[in-house]
Symmetry: C2
């Protein structure tokens, strides 16, 4: 059989981020096993790996749970995300060379393209995931020249936890949501490419502050 757990891992991650597994709900290897045609232990293995990212909570002898979601936790994560992204962006502005500018500009271009589409048509589950990937790619590129593996690693984890928290925020996709988002991303990329650290920090704050 093919490397089962990679696929199971990806599927679980998706279901956690999209809220298919409700925050706080119990994840029982013995129950989930059947749906994937693998043993309970393989599920356990996958869940242990997901707890590394912070999407799953693990307590010895108590099993696994999808990470709890609450306004407090969302706000906490948002605050932390701002700290990491501001720091990473400031360092990237300092260290980044032409290659960084090119990559950032490319990631932004792609993101805008996706967001314009989102603004026009209805959003299917799949399209939202495409957007989510492009968004992550943009933000990770922004901080990519902070030259701190540990900051980038932490940011990656926080980003997915952030997604997990905001998925049940219903008010997301109303009216001109994407128009606003497009402007916010534009502000960030403009400040970054202009090497204006303070403006970039402010733009990052403005982008995330609705989740505080």
């Amino acid at each position: 059989m093919r490397i089962a757990s990679t696929e199971i891992y990806d599927d679980f991650q998706r279901k956690l981020i999209t809220g298919f597994f409700r925050p706080g709900s119990k994840l029982k290897p013995s129950s989930l096993q059947g749906a994937y045609g693998c043993s309970a232990n393989t599920v356990r293995d996958v869940l242990l790996r997901l707890s590394r990212v912070g999407l799953v909570e693990f307590e010895m002898q108590r099993g696994f749970r999808a990470r709890e979601a609450s306004p407090q936790r969302r706000s906490d994560i948002a605050r932390f995300r701002i700290l990491l992204e501001q720091t990473g962006a400031a360092l990237s502005i300092e260290n980044g060379d032409l290659e960084w500018e090119v990559k950032l500009s490319a990631a932004h271009h792609k993101l805008v393209h996706v967001e314009r589409q989102m603004d026009r048509s209805e959003r299917s589950q799949e399209e939202v995931e495409v957007w989510s990937d492009a968004e992550r790619e943009f933000h990770e590129t922004l901080i990519s020249r902070c030259d701190s593996p540990v900051l980038r690693e932490t940011y990656a984890n926080i980003y997915v936890q952030f997604r997990q928290q905001i998925v049940f925020q219903e008010r997301n996709f109303e009216g001109d949501f994407y128009k606003v988002i497009i402007r916010e991303h534009q502000s960030i990329v403009d400040a970054a490419l202009a090497r204006n650290t303070e403006a970039c920090k402010q733009a990052i704050y403005d982008h995330v502050k609705r989740n505080l």
Copy 2:
């Protein structure tokens, strides 16, 4: 049989932080199993959980390694630790009440006591661990009123990774090392209790900067 993996987990963590498992070295469940009288799968389980803390590196189909150590990585972690601790301390200074002051002062008192002993006598492996625990307790109390679970959780992980990095820094225990450390901790606690945010940030930086 007793909950094996808790003890194995603690033992592994200790061996990783104290450098018994050399940074970068392969950790093979099949080999380690024998020494603990458990199955390879239990070792795997423990190692997956340790990879959550960042002490162990895991790559699918490639197994486990003690996290790599290098001057670059040490510096990176030190930098990140400063960011987290400065942020956490600043927030604690803002939010902390009398109870926080009491706890911080108590943790500092205990730490000084241990450090004075260390300065007098020779340092056994066990004594260093007692000191290390007291030090962690002090720094975690310092940031304990940042009111950000995610910051505290990240700090806890970074702290142990920091220990893992500096264990092979031989020049540690020479001469008046502990005298210097005592002064540094004093500066931190003084600034914190005086609610002097900027001085506290500076003291944190001065305390960690030798590892940059």
